[in-house]
């Protein structure tokens, strides 16, 4: 992966009537990078993707691809590959005919087309199905044909709009891993759109969390999970314990917060008196009192066994609850109605402005 910017989106806006669907979006993607746009329905993911593809030019801002300003270049002269959610395969063509389509349109010589089609089909492991009709394929196979068709033209960037969401869960998880391997193999630069956080964390080098037409955070999956930049990002990716409270003091990027479950310390910079949400991830919670750590007590409301981990939901009183993830090895797992005390490190506790949600 080279560090050179490959796709540069700056200040891109899009309005439909009175609604601002994209609000000055900035996003820079390096060559060979796999980036996911993650966000709730209606936040503008598809709109941003269509702007990059040239299918719906933005009202403002610029898009540069491979060093060229393409903001107003029509889609057929952009060299982007798109895998649509519905696959959008051409029903009147065979599998090979679909994959060859882009090269034929470009007027490539026959021998070159045949070679590219064969390579693309073997990459997606469909080498034996070239002469099949599209209607005679399973959903997973159609997905692969759509992918082969998009990579056959060797696009500067590959765009996936919820490309895996039509597959059943098991196939989807297999495809996530396989797709990532394949895209790295062909050194593709790709953007996935999804509202499935697991897919985002599995597939990408970096995740862009979108909310209401803006990118709230752009970070590597690990960092996004461990250091969410906003309450929205915290809520959207992974589970968390969230407790509302009032800042009473603090120093050095740490605040003291009074909450219904007691006094807690959290990372963040707020003036005393500010209303905040204190949050932490469930796997940070440990049974016991801990040393110099945050801690809170309550009564176990539910214990959910999930294979390698167990989720414990604790009613901490005054409407607050604690969510803890304990590993299966934890010798003494609490039971429902047990009184328990949990502790978690201050370094893994964050404070967010309360009104942000």
């Amino acid at each position: 992966m080279s560090a050179a910017p490959h796709l540069v989106i700056s200040g891109v806006s899009k309005r439909f009537g009175a609604a601002t669907v994209l609000d000055r979006v900035d996003l820079t993607i390096r060559r060979g990078e796999l980036v996911t746009l993650l966000g709730p329905s209606g936040c503008g993911k598809t709109t941003l993707l269509r702007a990059i593809a040239g299918l719906a030019p933005p009202d403002g801002g610029t898009i540069a691809l491979a060093g060229r300003d393409v903001t107003h270049v029509p889609p057929h002269r952009r060299n982007v590959g798109v895998v649509f959610q519905s696959y959008a395969l051409f029903p009147h063509l065979t599998v090979a005919g679909n994959v060859a389509f882009g090269l034929k349109v470009r007027g490539a010589p026959k021998a070159e087309i045949d070679r590219a089609v064969e390579r693309a089909l073997s990459l997606v492991k469909l080498g034996h199905l070239g002469s099949r009709r599209i209607s005679a394929l399973s959903g997973g196979q159609q997905q692969r044909v759509a992918l082969a068709r998009a990579i056959a033209v060797e696009p500067d960037v590959l765009l996936f709009d919820e490309a895996l969401s039509a597959l059943d869960r098991k196939l989807r998880e297999e495809m996530q891993v396989e797709l990532r391997r394949l895209l790295q193999e062909v050194k593709a630069t790709a953007i996935f759109v999804t509202h499935d956080q697991d897919e985002a964390l599995t597939m990408s080098d970096r995740v862009a969390v979108m909310n209401k037409g803006r990118i709230e955070q752009l970070a590597e999956p690990r960092e996004l999970y461990a250091r969410p930049a906003s309450l929205f990002a915290l809520n959207f990716v992974g589970l968390s314990t969230r407790i509302a409270g009032q800042v009473v003091g603090g120093s050095n990027g740490t605040v003291e917060v009074v909450t219904p479950v007691g006094r807690l310390s959290a990372r963040g910079a707020f003036q005393p008196g500010a209303s905040v949400i204190v949050a932490t991830r469930p796997e940070q919670l440990r049974l016991g009192t801990g040393d110099g750590a945050n801690s809170a007590a309550g009564r176990v409301r539910s214990v959910v066994f999930q294979g390698s981990r167990t989720l414990v939901d604790v009613d901490a009183g005054a409407g607050a609850s604690l969510l803890a993830e304990l590993s299966g090895r934890e010798a003494e797992l609490p039971r429902v109605h047990d009184e328990v005390r949990f502790a978690w490190p201050v370094a893994e506790t964050f404070a967010f402005a309360a009104e942000a949600s």
Partner: protein, 266 residues
């Protein structure tokens, strides 16, 4: 779940119905080869002499030519107008698109006789008396609904993301329409053209009110022959028309597949 008996009953019914529908055609074809003026069973040999007589029928060539002109022209115009209308109705944000579509298709539900009389009265009222043009306009009313209905159905099933897919693969907008939309809609286009051609060519109830002594369409001329001299010449002519229709169907089948045209695919 269907039982064996039910399957047998269904097949018997289907075959019986097909026989019932097709038998008259077989009889007509057999009669056209009859050596005697009166068709009789069992056949006593075969003759093609009635075929030779078709061309000598009084006023046959002008009628054939008129019918073909009207059928081909009304079909061509219907295909253009009907397809454009269907695009506007199925795709555009036209206010009242559904009502417009129903209106366009409504002549299909009207008895031909009523349509014929109504058109006759109307043309008289507005002083539109040129027979040929009146026939063409009347046949347009008959053929346009076939095209509009089939094309609206075809277009509403068409996935417009296919066009976007083609554009991202390097096609211009027009190129995408040509390479993706046209092939996808070709079956609808062909079948509606075929229906329209046949509907116009064998139309009787509407034409009868609009023709005059000098210009008669073929079906009307044929009825006149039957009244004047009922001999197997007419059977021979009918058999030829039948053969022509079959050829058209076979060509269409080759081009797009009849199963796709009948809309039974996928």
């Amino acid at each position: 779940m269907m039982t064996r008996t039910a399957i047998i009953i269904c097949w018997t019914l289907a075959i019986g119905l097909a026989l019932f529908l097709l038998l008259p055609l077989v009889v007509i074809a057999a009669a056209s080869f009859s050596p005697t003026p009166v068709f009789d069973l069992p056949l006593s040999g075969a003759s093609t002499r009635w075929y030779g007589r078709i061309g000598r029928l009084d006023g046959f060539w002008p009628s054939l030519s008129l019918s073909l002109q009207i059928a081909v022209l009304s079909t061509a115009l219907s295909l253009v107008a009907g397809t454009l209308a269907a695009i506007a109705i199925a795709r555009g944000r036209l206010p009242g698109a559904t009502a417009l579509g129903t209106l366009l298709v409504s002549p299909l539900m009207m008895p031909g006789l009523v349509l014929g009389i109504a058109l006759l009265q109307y043309f008289r009222m507005i002083g539109f008396t040129a027979t040929w043009s009146a026939l063409l306009v009347a046949h347009l009313v008959v053929t346009l609904p076939y095209v509009a209905r089939t094309m609206i159905a075809g277009l509403s099933r068409f996935d417009f993301t296919l066009i976007e897919a083609a554009r991202t693969l390097g096609c211009t907008y027009a190129g995408s329409v040509l390479r993706v939309m046209v092939p996808a809609l070709a079956p609808s286009f062909l079948i509606s053209g075929l229906f329209s051609l046949l509907a116009s060519f064998d139309n009787y109830p509407v034409s009868i009110f609009l023709t005059d002594v000098r210009s008669k369409t073929l079906p009307i001329r044929m009825l006149q022959y039957i009244e004047e001299a009922p001999d197997p010449t007419l059977a021979a002519l009918s058999t030829l028309i039948l053969a022509g229709t079959l050829v058209l169907l076979l060509i269409s089948d080759r081009l797009v597949g009849l199963h796709r045209m009948a809309g039974t695919a996928d």
